[in-house]
Symmetry: C2
Subunit: 394 residues, 2 copies
């Protein structure tokens, strides 16, 4: 269908930026990563895990970017998590050698790809049904590989995972019947806890989940089953998970970027991460700036950000902009109005062509919209990192 390039000579889409270019001239909409802040976030999490003697296995579903996974591993991470089988492929190809698929899978295509990757890297996956175990064993047999298996337990979210220790034990025994499957332990993750705003309430919810996990570990031990690894935790609960003594491994993802939604949590404790990820946008219309309801229009809307967890924050020179609010996302337009507060007025609206930085409401699905991340150091573009697992949701 596509004509040969010779039919349209000289026509190509330039990258959004090149190294050395001023950050203010990045073509928009683009994802921009403040590398200094990002590296502080990386270091803080690794140090916290090291101090607690717990393995850090960051979740790559948050970034889908091999360059970031390798940076995490270089600082001490034991490997990464992925949430889908296909998502893991570019990481295996980039040389990541230890990947846990923190999810159940269905279908022979997925089991076959997983078993194939397990010939090149240490791979594991979750189960919560005996039928999944049979499918994994068959695929591992065909590929001649070994697949690590975690039994997922439900610690309160009511989504995936078996309900109790007897059910977990039955799955451990089923795994043990297959030579090419290796029981590696338990996964206990509660997504709902991560976004509990109040610090004390979040700490209590994490303690409840950890207690449920500890009880299952103890019951399995009584039955003679040791859990080499107990994996779980996320960016909102990780401080408590590290201190719990229950988890041997934590799986946080979003801490590297710290989206607006996670930013609304109360962090009274030791760990506090900073916003490092921004959407660079541009004011493309000011036709309505001088009307009774003054506003300007940005070139970044629903196709440049996920809004499931709220609209983005407008970012100023040194923190959230005190004069502007992003009030509506259309498909390709973002509406910005003066913040309704004393001192804010139409005069504060940015001019046509101005670059505006936004903190995405939810980083994971926002990353999944972009093919590259523009890394900046200070006010200068430093690198362009492919989001190699973008769209790999199978």
């Amino acid at each position: 269908m596509t004509l040969p390039d010779s039919a349209t000579p000289g026509l190509r889409l330039a990258p959004p930026a090149v190294a050395g270019q001023p950050a203010a001239t990045i073509d928009t909409p683009s994802l921009v990563l403040d590398l200094d802040v990002f590296e502080r976030n990386l270091a803080q999490m690794q140090q916290a895990a090291d101090k607690a003697g717990v393995h850090l296995r960051p979740h790559a579903k948050a970034h889908k970017c091999p360059a970031i996974a390798l940076a995490q591993i270089a600082r001490g991470a034991v490997g990464i998590c992925c949430q889908k089988v296909s998502e893991a492929l570019p990481f295996v190809q980039a040389g990541v050698t230890d990947i846990h698929i923190s999810n159940e899978i269905a279908g022979t295509a997925k089991a076959a790809l997983l078993a194939g990757m397990a010939r090149h890297a240490r791979l594991s996956v979750c189960v919560d049904d005996a039928r999944q175990i049979g499918a994994l064993a068959e695929a591992a047999g065909h590929a001649g590989s070994t697949i690590g298996v975690f039994v997922e337990i439900d610690v309160g979210q009511g989504r995936c995972g078996v309900a109790d220790a007897p059910a977990a034990l039955r799955l451990v025994q089923a795994i043990g019947a297959h030579a090419r499957l290796e029981f590696r332990g338990l996964q206990a993750y509660h997504g709902g806890i991560q976004h509990v705003r109040d610090y004390a309430s979040r700490r209590q919810a994490a303690a409840d989940a950890a207690a449920r996990t500890a009880a299952v570990v103890a019951e399995l031990a009584e039955a003679g089953v040791a859990c080499p690894t107990v994996t779980g935790g996320g960016s909102g609960s990780v401080e408590f998970d590290l201190a719990s003594g229950v988890y041997t491994e934590i799986q946080p993802g979003s801490y590297i970027f710290m989206d607006a939604d996670y930013g609304r949590n109360d962090y009274s404790g030791a760990l506090r991460f900073e916003h490092s990820l921004f959407i660079a946008s541009t004011v493309m219309s000011v036709a309505a700036a001088t009307r009774p309801a003054p506003r300007v229009v940005l070139d970044a809307g629903l196709k440049s950000m996920a809004v499931d967890s709220g609209l983005p924050l407008v970012w100023g020179a040194a923190g959230p902009d005190q004069a502007l609010a992003y009030v509506a996302a259309n498909d390709e337009h973002g509406i910005v109005e003066p913040l309704t507060r004393a001192g804010a007025s139409a005069a504060s609206l940015p001019a046509l062509g101005t670059q505006v930085l936004l903190v995405p409401g939810h980083c994971d699905p926002t990353l999944n919209l972009y093919d590259e991340i523009v890394g900046v150091r200070g006010q200068t573009v430093a690198c362009l990192w492919p989001v190699a697992a973008r769209g790999l949701s199978r």
Copy 2:
């Protein structure tokens, strides 16, 4: 960063489906297009435009797929709309020769790409500020091309577009000062009208917008300015736009797919489009199917659909499923529960591994998540169409 393929021999992600395969075995999550329904939608819109003597210029922001654009043009469309400059590039490369960018643009990179494409195809763009005109003229001069220019007028949305005829006239005159720019007419689009549920209210809102447009056209005519084209309208208002006598061209996009949100409009009139686009998903966990709050988990969540306009509908054998509701989207999980109504119960929940079809809440940003569309004819896969403009939001 990526190792040579020889480092991971035999490892690749298979396409989600191949022609001839049963639709029930498509790897998931995937976008599935019912080609019979899609072709009925295409035909209905083209016939309505032909009958009214109005040009149809479908909006490619809804599909981002050259194969679909060429199918629309083959049936009589005069060209397509794109919403971003970069979005147009794969269509130019696929041989689409007439593209209107139905938006303002900011920045020299975008103007340069537009002017470059205008050497290969008939291109036009919108303006609502004199400064945009200068930037376009400069880029056209560098490229040696001619760019068509539409003056956008605000007909009630309060987003982009000048407020009145005198402001429009000033821009028409500014365009006329540049030999490489060609004034092509007015764009008058009101996105908010499209989703007014009640038929009579939507008709009235469309009539108001058309009246405002007609008034500007008349004022310009009095000033000696003819508008060769008056372009606007969307899938929700097109019936009224065609009958208005004001528009010479309509720009609907979503009619080809008919998402769940558009489906909630009341269509009492002549035009009624059918759902042709689905997300194929699979039940990946039934661990919570027998609990007090019974549910199953699908493998399609926020990274497989846009939820800004509501959650997807579960699709049954011949219409919306009467027993199941998709109640929550997590990043990579979708939660399905029995519909709360008489006769629905946990017994109606689908089994592990079952394929479940969903009608996306909002097709445009959902399409933007996928690299291909799986076309099916009856129960068999017929084609795989690249979503070549996916992610091209600059």
